[in-house]
C-alpha cells in the first residue's frame, strides 16, 4: 500500500495532475485528416497537419463537443474561450507552435469526487492539438540529444487533445491513482476518448511537492512519462521520498521537470526551470473566438450518460455491495451494470448476480450473450443450496459456452444434485472416524487441521458436497 503515511516526520504530500486525453474524433483538431492510431507512419497528413506555408486551421466541431462533454461530466463551467499559440522549436511540432488555450479555456472550475467523499478540484479542461511522435535511434538515452538520427510520424500531429488540470488537492498516491482511474472511467463513459494509457491516448504529468501542514506548499517538480495508473502511484511515492530526503539532508527542491523511468523506478532531471522555454503565448490570429451557444451546451449536458459514480452507487444499493469496492468499479467500467440489473429483475440473487458478472464476464462486453433469466436461475440454484458454489462455477462456464440455456437441465446432465443435510452429516461422521488425529487437533483449536477433514469429505462426495456447509457442520460438532 503506497500511502503518504510512509513519509516520515510529519511531511505531507501535495499532488496535482495534468492529464492529456486524445479525443475520439474521426478527424483531426484543425484538418480533415483521419485521427486514427496505428496506421502506417505519415499517412494521415495534409498541408495543415504538416504546417505547410499558407495552410490554415479550421476548428473541428466534434472535438469541441467532446471537450464539452468532459467539462460537463467534471462539473465544469463551459465558457466562451479563445485559442493561443504556444511557441517553441521541436522537430515533431510542425508549425513550431502548438495551438492551445491559455487565459480563456473552454471548461473551468469543476471537481471530481473520490471514494470517501474526497473532492478534487478541476481547475480547467482545455482544448489543444497533439504533436507528432518522434523516435530517436542510436545513442543511449532514447532522447534526441546524442542520438544518431530521429524519425517523426506526423499521424499524431493535430490530433485533438483535452488537457485536464486538477487543483493540488491530492494528498496520497492512492488518491492520485483513484483520480486517474475515475477520470478514465468518466472519459470512457461519455465516449470522449478511448483513454488507453498504453497507447498514449491518455497521458499523465504529475506535479509533486511536500510540505509540513500549516506551512506554504513546497516547490513542486513535474514528472513526465508516467504511462500507467500503477506508475502514477510509484512515481509519486518515489518523488515524495526523494524530496523529503533532499530537504532533511539540508538541500532544497529545485523547480524542474523530471522523467519517470519505469524500469528503474526512479525520476531524473529532464530540464530545470532556468532552461525552460519562454513560450511567448499570444492569441492565435488564424482562429476566431469560440463561444458555444447556451442551447448547444444544454443539449450536450442533456445527452450525457449517467456517470460511473452514480452507476456504482445504484449498483451497490441494488446488490448490497460496497460502492467503492472492486466489484462495483469493474462491472460499471465494463458497462455491465444494466445487465446485472436485468439479472436481478429476473429474480436473480443480487449479490451473486454482480459477483458472477464480475468474475466470469470479463470478455463479454456490456451486453453478455447469456440471457439474464438464465443467469438469474443459476444464482437461485446456488442460493437455495441446490448446487454447491463449486458446481455453480462449472455451470456458469457451461452457460457462457452455450450462450445460455436451462441451468437445471445442465445441472442434471452433469449429475449435480446437492446433498441434503442428513447425507452430509453421515459423511462428516465418516471422515471424523477416518481421520481421528486431524479431528483431535481441530478440537484442540488447530484450525489448519480443518482442511484435511474437509478435503476428505469432498473426496468421498466426489465434489458434490458444499464446502461451506461441511465446515459449518464440523464447527457445530466441535462446539458440542
Amino acid at each position: 500500500m503506497s500511502d503518504n503515511a510512509v513519509l516520515p516526520n510529519g511531511w505531507q504530500l501535495v499532488v496535482g495532475l495534468e492529464v492529456h486525453v486524445e479525443l475520439a474524433t474521426k478527424t483531426k483538431m484543425f484538418s480533415a485528416s483521419a485521427n486514427r492510431f496505428g496506421d502506417e507512419p505519415n499517412t494521415n497528413i495534409d498541408p495543415v497537419t504538416l504546417g505547410l506555408p499558407g495552410a490554415l486551421p479550421v476548428l473541428n466541431k466534434h472535438a469541441v463537443e467532446l471537450a464539452m462533454r468532459i467539462g460537463l461530466a467534471l462539473n465544469c463551467k463551459v465558457q466562451p474561450c479563445t485559442f493561443h499559440r504556444k511557441n517553441y522549436f521541436y522537430p515533431d511540432l510542425p508549425k513550431a507552435y502548438q495551438i492551445t488555450q491559455y487565459d480563456h479555456p473552454l471548461n473551468v472550475d469543476g471537481f471530481l469526487m473520490l471514494p470517501g467523499e474526497v473532492r478534487i478540484g478541476i481547475e480547467r479542461a482545455h482544448l489543444e492539438e497533439d504533436t507528432g511522435k518522434s523516435t530517436h535511434f542510436g545513442g543511449t538515452s532514447g532522447r534526441i540529444h546524442g542520438s544518431d538520427y530521429s524519425l517523426i510520424d506526423f499521424n499524431r500531429a493535430g490530433v485533438p487533445l483535452v488537457e485536464i488540470v486538477s487543483r493540488p488537492d491530492i494528498r496520497t498516491s492512492e488518491q492520485a491513482r483513484q483520480y486517474v482511474a475515475e477520470l478514465r472511467a468518466i472519459l470512457l463513459a461519455v465516449g470522449a476518448s478511448d483513454a488507453k494509457m498504453e497507447e498514449g491516448s491518455m497521458r499523465c504529468d504529475v506535479n509533486v511537492s511536500v510540505h509540513k501542514p500549516g506551512t506554504p506548499f513546497g516547490t513542486r517538480c513535474e514528472i513526465k512519462n508516467v504511462n500507467s495508473i500503477r506508475s502514477v502511484g510509484r512515481a509519486i511515492d518515489y518523488e515524495a521520498r526523494r524530496q523529503v530526503d533532499l530537504i532533511e539532508g539540508g538541500g532544497t527542491v529545485r523547480q524542474e521537470t523530471r522523467h519517470w523511468d519505469d524500469a528503474s523506478g526512479r525520476t531524473e532531471t529532464l530540464r530545470t526551470k532556468e532552461d525552460a522555454d519562454d513560450y511567448r503565448y499570444f492569441l492565435e490570429p488564424d482562429l476566431v473566438p469560440l463561444a458555444p451557444e447556451q442551447s448547444w451546451v444544454d443539449q450536450v449536458r442533456a445527452a450525457l450518460p449517467v456517470l460511473p459514480a452514480a452507476r456504482r452507487n445504484a449498483l451497490a444499493e441494488l446488490c448490497g455491495i460496497d460502492k467503492d469496492g472492486e466489484s462495483a468499479f469493474v462491472v460499471v467500467e465494463r458497462g455491465q451494470d444494466d445487465y446485472v440489473r436485468q439479472v436481478v429483475g429476473n429474480g436473480g440473487d443480487p449479490r451473486r448476480s454482480v459477483i458472477y458478472v464480475q468474475q466470469a464476464f470479463a470478455e463479454q462486453g456490456a451486453m453478455p450473450k447469456v440471457p439474464a433469466k438464465d443467469l438469474a436461475a443459476l444464482t437461485i440454484l446456488e442460493r437455495d443450496a441446490k448446487v454447491t458454489s463449486t458446481q455453480a462455477k462449472s455451470l456458469l462456464t457451461d452457460l457462457i459456452e452455450a450462450g445460455g440455456g436451462d441451468v437445471v437441465a445442465m445441472a442434471t446432465k452433469r449429475g449435480f444434485e446437492a446433498l441434503d443435510t442428513g447425507a452430509l452429516e453421515a459423511m462428516v461422521d465418516a471422515a471424523i472416524a477416518a481421520e481421528p488425529g486431524a479431528w483431535q487437533k481441530y478440537c484442540d483449536g488447530e484450525e489448519k487441521a480443518l482442511g484435511a477433514l474437509v478435503g476428505a469429505i469432498m473426496k468421498s462426495s466426489k465434489g458434490k458436497a458444499d464446502g461451506k456447509a461441511v465446515t459449518a457442520i464440523l464447527q457445530s460438532k466441535r462446539k458440542k
Binding site: 498541408p47 504538416l50 504546417g51 505547410l52 506555408p53 499558407g54 495552410a55 490554415l56 486551421p57 479550421v58 476548428l59 499559440r85 511557441n87 522549436f89 522537430p91 510542425p94 508549425k95 513550431a96 507552435y97 534526441i144 540529444h145 517523426i152 519562454d278 511567448r280 503565448y281 499570444f282 490570429p285 488564424d286 482562429l287 476566431v288
Partner: protein
C-alpha cells in the same frame, strides 16, 4: 494595352483568342523582363496550355469563366500546386507546394491564365522589393526607381503590361504603396473578404490578398471573382462577394468624404497637392468634404511594427529545415536550426523575427505587444467615430512618389515610414485602395488612397471611379 474586361469580352465572344492575348503578354515579358525583374518565375508553358484549353472551350461552345483568357501574375507568396513558391526567400527556394491557394483555385476556375510568380520583398517584409533574396524589381516607369513593395513585382507586372492584372498581398500597405508608385490601381479589401488559405503568412491578423489592375473597373471585376467565404479560412467573412462593378457609374453626389486634419507629417508637398486636387474633383462631382480627426493615427506605425513582427516571429518559426525548404546540416539539432535560419533568411526578415520575439517575451509582452494591441483598438475606435460622419476618407497612399534604389536601405525607419498612411486600415481590418491621380514634381505617378469602413467597398469603389474619371 487591353483592359481585363476587354480581354474577357473578346475571348468570350470569339473576337479574340486567349492564345493571342497570352502571346502578346509573353512577348512584352520577353522584351523587358530582363531589365524589370518583375517575376521570380514565368510559367509560359502552362500559360500557353491554359490559353489553348480556353480557346478550345470557346470553339466548342462551352461556357467560359468570368476571367476567361486574362493573363494574371501572382505574388510569389501564394501557393501554386507543383509550381515553385519562394516568398523571394532562400529558405523556400525550390519548394513546390502540393496544393493551390484558394484564390489560385478561384482564378483557374474563372479561366484566368497564370503567367508567373512575381517578385516581392522577402516574406512580404519591405516597401521597395529591395529585400528580395533574388534581386530587386525595377519600376517600369523609371528603372532607376523602386516599384514599391512588398508586392513590387505584381505592381510592375501590370504597369509594364506583362499581365492584365495581378494579385498581391497587403499587410501594411504592400498592395497600395507599390500600386501608387507604379501608377496602377491596387486594392486591399476588408480583412476576411478574400481567403488567406494558401497565402504564406507574414502577419496573419493583417494579411489580405487583393488585385492590381490598370483601372478601377478591372479591379472591381477581379475582386468580385476572388472574394467570398472560404470554409478553409476561419477568419473569412461568412457572406458572398459584394457587387462592385454595378456601382462604378453611380457617382459621388451626396457622399461625404473625410479629410484627416491630423495627418502624420512627412508627406511631400507635391503629393499633398494632388490630394487637394482630388478633394476638389470630388467636390465638383457633388460630394461634401468633411474634416475628421484620427488622433491615434500617430501611434499606428509603432503599433504595427510590434504586432506584425510578433506574428511574423511565430509564423516564420516553421522554417526550421526539418520538413521542407532548405536545410544547412550541422552537428546537432539546435546548430542545424541556427545555421539553416542564418543562411535562409535575409537581414530584414531576421530583424523583424528578433523584434517580434522580443515583443512577445515574458516580461516585455505587456509593455510592447500588449500596448500595441491597445493602439489597435484605439485606431478602430477613431475610425468608427469618423465613419459615423463620412462615407470614405481620402489620404495620400504614400508620402512620396517612387524613390531611387538604395535611398532608404541603410535606414529601416525611413523605409518603415513609407507605410504611415496605409498601416492604419490594416490594423482596423478596413478596406482601402490606391488610385493613380496625376504625377508629382518628378513626373512619377501619385496615388490617392480611398479608405472605407468594414465591408464599405461599394462606397470606396464609387469614389475611386470618380477620381479615375477626373484624372
Amino acid at each position: 494595352m487591353q483592359k481585363l474586361v476587354e480581354i474577357v469580352a473578346g475571348v468570350t465572344d470569339g473576337s479574340l483568342t486567349a492564345t493571342a492575348v497570352v502571346e502578346e503578354h509573353l512577348g512584352r515579358i520577353k522584351a523587358r523582363e530582363s531589365e524589370i525583374h518583375a517575376f521570380n518565375l514565368v510559367t509560359a508553358d502552362q500559360a500557353r496550355e491554359t490559353a489553348a484549353r480556353i480557346d478550345a472551350d470557346v470553339k466548342a461552345g462551352k461556357k467560359v469563366g468570368a476571367l476567361a483568357g486574362v493573363p494574371i501574375a501572382l505574388k510569389d507568396n501564394m501557393c501554386t500546386r507543383g509550381i515553385e513558391t519562394t516568398c523571394s526567400s532562400k529558405i523556400l527556394q525550390g519548394w513546390k507546394p502540393p496544393y493551390d491557394a484558394t484564390v489560385v483555385t478561384k482564378l483557374r476556375q474563372a479561366g484566368a491564365v497564370v503567367v508567373g510568380k512575381t517578385n516581392l520583398d522577402e516574406f512580404a517584409m519591405g516597401s521597395s522589393t529591395e529585400n528580395s533574396a533574388f534581386g530587386p524589381t525595377k519600376n517600369p516607369l523609371d528603372i532607376s526607381r523602386v516599384p514599391g513593395g512588398s508586392s513590387g513585382g505584381s505592381a510592375a507586372a501590370v504597369s509594364a503590361g506583362f499581365a492584365a492584372a495581378s494579385l498581391g498581398s497587403d499587410t501594411g500597405g504592400s498592395i497600395r504603396q507599390p500600386a501608387a508608385l507604379c501608377g496602377v490601381v491596387g486594392v486591399k479589401p476588408t480583412y476576411g473578404t478574400v481567403s488567406r488559405y494558401g497565402l504564406v503568412a507574414f502577419a496573419s491578423s493583417l494579411d489580405q490578398i487583393g488585385p492590381f489592375t490598370s483601372d478601377v473597373r478591372d479591379a472591381a471585376t477581379l475582386l468580385e471573382v476572388i472574394s467570398g467565404h472560404d470554409p478553409m479560412d476561419s477568419t473569412s467573412i461568412p457572406q458572398n462577394a459584394t457587387s462592385l462593378v454595378s456601382v462604378l457609374e453611380h457617382g459621388v453626389k451626396g457622399m461625404r468624404i473625410g479629410r484627416v486634419t491630423d495627418l502624420p507629417e512627412g508627406c511631400e508637398p507635391d503629393v499633398l497637392a494632388r490630394l487637394e486636387a482630388a478633394f476638389d474633383a470630388l467636390r465638383k462631382a457633388g460630394a461634401t468634404i468633411v474634416d475628421v480627426k484620427l488622433p491615434s493615427l500617430q501611434y499606428c506605425l509603432t503599433a504595427y511594427y510590434l504586432i506584425a513582427p510578433a506574428e511574423a516571429s511565430s509564423n516564420l518559426a516553421r522554417y526550421d529545415g526539418v520538413r521542407y525548404g532548405n536545410r544547412v546540416e550541422a552537428a546537432d539539432l539546435n546548430a542545424m536550426y541556427a545555421a539553416t535560419r542564418e543562411a535562409g533568411f535575409g537581414e530584414e526578415v531576421k530583424r523583424r523575427i528578433m523584434l517580434g520575439t522580443y515583443a512577445l517575451s515574458a516580461g516585455y509582452y505587456d509593455a510592447y505587444y500588449g500596448k500595441a494591441l491597445k493602439v489597435r483598438r484605439l485606431i478602430s475606435d477613431d475610425f468608427a467615430r469618423a465613419y459615423k460622419d463620412v462615407d470614405t476618407i481620402l489620404t495620400p497612399t504614400s508620402p512620396s512618389t517612387a524613390f531611387k534604389f538604395g535611398s532608404k536601405t541603410d535606414n529601416p525607419l525611413a523605409m518603415y515610414l513609407c507605410d504611415v498612411f496605409t498601416i492604419p486600415t490594416n490594423l482596423a481590418g478596413h478596406p482601402a485602395m490606391s488610385v493613380p491621380f496625376g504625377v508629382g514634381a518628378d513626373s512619377m505617378p501619385v496615388g490617392i488612397q480611398v479608405l472605407a469602413t468594414t465591408m464599405g467597398e461599394q462606397a470606396m469603389f464609387k469614389v475611386a471611379a470618380e477620381l479615375e474619371r477626373a484624372s
